[in-house]
């Protein structure tokens, strides 16, 4: 794929490709991509040469930032995030696991102060083998990423 290739059906926006099949819906929900009022095209269980099956999301008129792209790395470490301007790939984000995750999902600990105060949730991310552990800055509890996203 070259940087000048036209992306079908998307003039300006972001394409998130190579999402592991089954994670697409979760990403849509967590990053509230469907709530932005922009047109969103979603493909689930598409054929992929490298992955077998994959999910794909295209959002019109929204450019994901580097930080947002990195937050995706938690759920889809091999995803590709391309920002499209005038039907051309203007930027390819390289995903890196973020050190912190802010304001994306609530703390699973129901007695955590972050639920009742005007602050964003805040987790420290620590790699643990092939997985990651998330630690809430406030209540100091540690969680797996699956628990954290399941409570949303």
């Amino acid at each position: 794929m070259t940087l000048t290739r036209t992306v079908e059906g998307l003039k300006n926006g972001t394409v998130i490709d190579h999402i592991p099949a089954g994670q697409g819906l979760r990403i849509l929900r967590l990053f509230k991509l469907a709530e932005l009022g922009e047109r969103v095209n979603v493909g689930f269980n598409l054929t992929s040469r490298h992955m077998g099956v994959k999910d794909l999301i295209k959002v019109e008129n929204v450019e994901l930032t580097e930080a947002q792209a990195n937050e995706l790395a938690l759920f889809a470490p091999r995803a590709t995030v391309n920002v499209i301007r005038d039907s051309e790939v203007a930027k390819k984000h390289k995903l890196a696991m973020p050190a912190t995750i802010e304001g994306i999902f609530a703390c699973p600990n129901s007695n955590c102060i972050s639920h009742v105060e005007p602050v964003d949730s805040f987790f420290y991310v620590t790699p643990q083998g092939n997985d990651v552990k998330l630690k809430c800055k406030y209540c100091e509890k540690g969680f797996s990423k699956d628990i954290v996203t399941a409570v949303e």
């Binding site: 600990n109 007695n111 955590c112 102060i113 972050s114 009742v116 105060e117 005007p118 602050v119 809430c136 800055k137 406030y138 209540c139 100091e140 509890k141 540690g142």
Partner: protein, 306 residues
Amino acid sequence: MANPLFRKHILSIPDFTRAELELIVDTAARLKAQPRDDLLKGRLIASCFFEPSTRTRLSFETAIQRLGGRVIGFDNASNTSTKKGETLSDSIRIISSYADAIVMRHHKEGAARLASEFSEVPVINGGDGANQHPSQTLLDLFTIRETQGTLEGLTLAFVGDLKYGRTVHSLAQALSLFGCRFYFVGPEALAMPDYICETLDSRGISYTLAETIEEVLPEIDILYMTRVQKERFDEADYQKIQGRFVLREDMLRGARDNMKILHPLPRVDEIETAVDASGHAYYFEQAKNGVFARQALLSLVLNETV
């Protein structure tokens, strides 16, 4: 040169370095040996107990007054605007504009760290839910150093409820910086949580699970007792474990001379009262030391040099 805790918040034990813990313990020892009534002179400390805790509050307020400081505050949030729905962050913004430091206790976990983000003055955590109670850990460290002359390379047994006992969690975390060894003695259902064991593993600290107090007694310098709450078990299970984690006087025969018994108090029946008269009992002195540890914290946070 300003001490490293000057104008800092005191929120959670894992925030501290070994040198900072030693500074607090040294300062507490100095203040116990040579009382000072001037270190908080002219200072006003807010004592904000959103959740009541008479002991902790009295211990902090004693520490403040003995250092020459003055106290404002409340001991029950039901009389405050919290009851009317004011957020903690707004309360803290306002209180921090009145006082030179805030001592607070709150039933929600993370409350003190959140408060520190809205406060113009140092926040000292007097307990946030099941999370942290750093001044308790600091008084434990001070007491252990006082009885053993060192914090380095000691062997301790933690007995009782190791799962919910936040005092043993924080103490194990703190002592892991000093190369101590641990025995964990308690019912399987109340075992030490994984995250504490992981911290110990990552620091190369050795710990052993043991069935009874007797088997570890000859090995240890400190016996740290906590209470197994009956409510955690159904009746039949409680019958099985009842008495296994209770300290009786006759068990002390195998103990080392330097061995001291600690307990965060209040105790119910996990230490027989006959133990109180033995030279090993140190839990009442430990409670008294709470005032010196809190004096050390307040002095260091509010003075460049102590």
